[in-house]
C-alpha cells in the first residue's frame, strides 16, 4: 500500500510540476482576474451612465419659505427610511414667481435638471404634476404634503415630531432559517463552481501520456490504479494552488470590509463556522476526486483530442445534474430528496457541504466522507480496469466498439 501511494506521489509530483511550470498556468491562474477586470470595467461604466442619469433627476416643490421648511423637514425624516440606491430623486425647493402653474410647467422644460414631478400651490391648494417616469416621485411628494399638513394641524414646530423614540440595536444570538439555507446554498454553489472549473481538466489528463507513449513506461512500472490516483492528486494540487491563491486574495479583501456582527451571526452555520469551513474543504476534495476520477476514466478511453472535446459537453451536463440534485436538497433539508442527494456518491459532497449549515450533527459527515472515499476507490479501480482492458490490450477503443455495436458489426 505504501509503495502504491509512493508511486502515485511520484506521478502526482511530475504532473504538478509539469503543469505549474508552464506559462499557460499563469494564464490559468490569472483567468479570474480577466473576468474581474471586465466585470469591473463593464459594471462601473454602466453605473456611471445610470448615476449621471440619477444625479440630474429632481422632485421640485414651489413653495414659500414657511411651507418649504415643513416639506424639507418631512423629506429629511422619511428619506431616512429608504436604503441607499432606492431613495426618491433629490428635492429641489423653488420660491414662487408669478403664475406658479406656468412656473411649474416651465420646470419640465429645463435643460439643467430632469424634473420628474412638481408640487405647487402651497398647503391650502396643493397640486402635483408629473412627467413620464415621475409617478413614484409624485406619490412621494403627496406623502410629504400629507406629513407637512399633519404637522401643521398638530401645531408642531417645523422639524419637531409627535413621538420621539431612539431605536436600540440588538445582537442576534440565533441564526435565521433563511440565513442558514442561503449559507448552505452558497457553500454548495462555490463548491460546484470550483469543481466545474477544475475537475473537468482531468478528462484530458491521460492524453499526454497516450500521445508521447509514456503510458507504456507508467503501465509497466506502476499499477494503473496508482497512475490514475497520482494523476488525480497532481491535478488536485494544481486546483488547490489556484484556490489558495484566490482564497488568500479574497480573505484579504473580506478583512478590509467593515464587520457587521448582526449579519454574520444570522449566517452562523449550525455545525460551527470553523467545522463548516473545514468540511467545505474536505467536501471539495471529495467532489473533485469523485467527479475527476469519472472524467479521467472516461477521457482515458478517448483516442484523440476530438473525442475528448466531444466528451466535455456530457461531462458539464453531468456536473449540472449533480448541482441541481444537491441544490434541491439544500432547499429542503431533511427531506427524502435531501437524503437521496446525500447518499448518491456524486452529489453527496455538495449536498453534505450544504447540510452542515442547518444540521449540527457531526457523525453524518464522518460517514459521508468514508462513503465518498469508498467511491473514489471504486471509480479509480473500475476506471483502471476499464483502461487496461480497453486501451492497453491494443484492441479497439470503447467508442469504436460502441460505434460498431450501433452499426451492428463486430469491432
Amino acid at each position: 500500500m505504501t509503495r502504491y501511494l509512493r508511486q502515485a506521489v511520484v506521478i502526482a509530483r511530475r504532473d504538478f510540476l509539469a503543469t505549474v511550470g508552464t506559462p499557460a498556468f499563469i494564464m490559468f491562474l490569472l483567468a479570474p482576474l480577466f473576468m474581474l477586470v471586465f466585470a469591473t470595467v463593464g459594471g462601473s461604466g454602466a453605473r456611471m451612465i445610470a448615476d449621471s442619469g440619477n444625479q440630474s433627476r429632481r422632485l421640485v416643490v414651489i413653495a414659500d419659505a414657511g411651507y418649504a421648511e415643513r416639506i424639507t423637514a418631512a423629506d429629511r425624516r422619511i428619506r431616512g427610511a429608504f436604503p441607499v440606491g432606492v431613495a426618491p430623486p433629490r428635492l429641489d425647493i423653488r420660491a414662487p414667481e408669478g403664475d406658479v402653474a406656468v412656473q411649474a410647467r416651465a420646470v419640465f422644460s429645463e435643460s439643467t435638471v430632469d424634473a420628474s414631478a412638481v408640487m405647487f400651490g402651497g398647503p391650502h391648494a396643493p397640486q402635483i404634476q408629473f412627467a413620464s417616469g415621475g409617478r413614484t416621485g409624485s406619490r412621494y411628494l403627496l406623502i410629504l404634503a400629507e406629513a407637512a399638513a399633519r404637522a401643521a394641524d398638530s401645531g408642531l414646530e417645523p422639524g419637531a415630531t409627535l413621538v420621539s423614540i431612539q431605536p436600540q440595536p440588538i445582537e442576534r444570538t440565533h441564526a435565521t432559517i433563511g440565513g442558514r439555507q442561503s449559507l448552505g446554498f452558497t457553500a454548495l454553489f462555490v463548491l460546484f463552481l470550483l469543481t466545474l472549473l477544475l475537475a473537468g481538466q482531468t478528462v484530458s489528463v491521460l492524453a499526454e501520456e497516450k500521445g508521447n507513449k509514456v503510458i507504456e513506461i507508467l503501465a509497466a512500472a506502476v499499477p494503473l490504479e496508482a497512475v490514475f490516483l497520482g494523476k488525480l492528486i497532481g491535478l488536485f494540487g494544481v486546483a488547490l494552488t489556484f484556490i489558495a491563491f484566490w482564497g488568500t486574495i479574497a480573505m484579504f479583501g473580506f478583512a478590509q470590509l467593515p464587520a457587521d456582527a448582526g449579519a454574520a451571526s444570522a449566517l452562523r452555520p449550525a455545525i460551527g463556522l470553523g467545522t463548516f469551513l473545514g468540511l467545505a474543504v474536505v467536501y471539495f476534495a471529495m467532489g473533485y476526486l469523485l467527479l475527476g476520477a469519472v472524467f479521467l476514466a472516461v477521457g482515458a478511453q478517448a483516442n484523440s483530442m476530438r473525442e475528448i472535446q466531444m466528451l466535455s459537453l456530457p461531462i458539464t451536463f453531468f456536473q449540472m445534474g449533480m448541482f441541481g440534485l444537491a441544490s434541491a436538497a439544500a432547499a429542503r433539508p431533511g427531506s427524502t430528496l435531501a437524503l437521496v442527494a446525500e447518499l448518491f456518491p456524486f452529489s453527496s459532497p455538495f449536498a453534505m457541504a450544504a447540510r452542515g449549515a442547518s444540521d449540527p450533527a457531526i457523525w453524518p459527515h464522518a460517514a459521508a466522507i468514508a462513503w465518498q472515499l469508498l467511491w473514489v476507490a471504486i471509480v479509480i479501480t473500475v476506471g483502471a480496469r476499464w483502461f487496461r482492458k480497453g486501451v492497453l490490450k491494443s484492441g479497439p477503443s470503447f467508442f469504436r466498439r460502441l460505434g460498431a455495436a450501433l452499426r451492428g458489426k463486430p469491432a
Binding site: Q7, V10, N212, K213, I215, I217, L218, A219, A221, L392
Partner: protein
Amino acid sequence: MADQWALVATELVKNFGSKCAVDGVDIRVPTGCIYGVLGPNGAGKTTTLRMLLGIIDPDSGHRELLGTTRPRSVSHRIGYLPEERGLYSNMKAREAIAFMGALRGLPWAEGRKRAEILLENAGLGFATHDKIKKLSKGMSQFVQLLGSIVHQPEFIVLDEPFSGLDPVNQGRLEKLILGERDRGATVLFSTHIMAHAERLCDRLAIIAGGKLRYEGSVDEARATLPMQAHYTPRDNDPALAALLPADAVRENGSWRFPVPESGMEAMLGTLLESGHGIAGLSIERPSLHEVFVALVGEKAVEEMEADAGEEIAA
C-alpha cells in the same frame, strides 16, 4: 527455482479479438544470462514480453518471474524499455532518468546522482541538463534505456533496443547490456536483427506467427543443422559428384555440402584414394541465419532482414 531460473513461462496464449497473437509460447530464462527473443515483425514478441511483465494478462498459460506468479508485485526489481519509446519532452535528461527510477522506488536524489554517472559513461554527459525535446531520437532513446536500468534491476527487459540506433550507439548498447549482465542482472531482449542476438545471447527463443519455433542456447540452435563442409578439389572432374553426398552444391569449382552424420573421415579417405586431391577444405558451423531460415522459412527471414536494412539505412 528462483535461483536457477529468473523467468519461466509455459503455454502462454493471447488473442486479440479473433486474431491469435501468441499461441502457446514457452520460455525459460536462466538467472544471470542474456536471453534473446528473435522473430520477424508482428511475430508476437512484444505481446509475449508484455505478458511476461504483467502489463497485460495472458488468456491462458503460466508465468513465474523472479519467483512470483504476479509479475507486477516485483516491478521494482525489473527494468523495461518498451518498443514504443516515449519520454516527457519537457523533462531534462537527468530528471527523466531519475523519474523512471522513482517510479520503481529509487529515491530522487540517488536517481539524479546515478543518472549523471550513467549519462557520462554512455558518452552523453553533455546532455545531462538538456531537455528531451532538444535531443536526437537516438539520444533520447538512450536516455530512456538508462532510465530503465537506473534502479539496478535484477531483470531487464528490452523490446527491440537496437532499432533506431546508429552503429556507434548500437555498439554502446551492446557494451551496456554486457555490463549489466556482469553486474549480475538477467537481460531479456527482443530483436529482429540476428547479428545482435548471435553476438550477445547466451540463449534465445525464436518466435514466428505467434508460435515458438526454437528455445535453447545459440550453440544448440546451430547444432539443429549439420555442419557445412566447403571442399575444393585439385582437379575439376564431374565424376567427383558421385563420391559426395547427394545434396552437395557446386559453387565456382568448389563443393558445399552438409557434413554426413558419420563424420568426414570416411569421405576424406575416399576422396584422397580417388586422386581428386584436397586443394581446400573448411568445416563451418551453420550461422544463426541458416538456422532461422530452416525454422521460419526463407520468406520471413527476407522480410525481417529488409526491415533491419531499412532501419540501419535510416
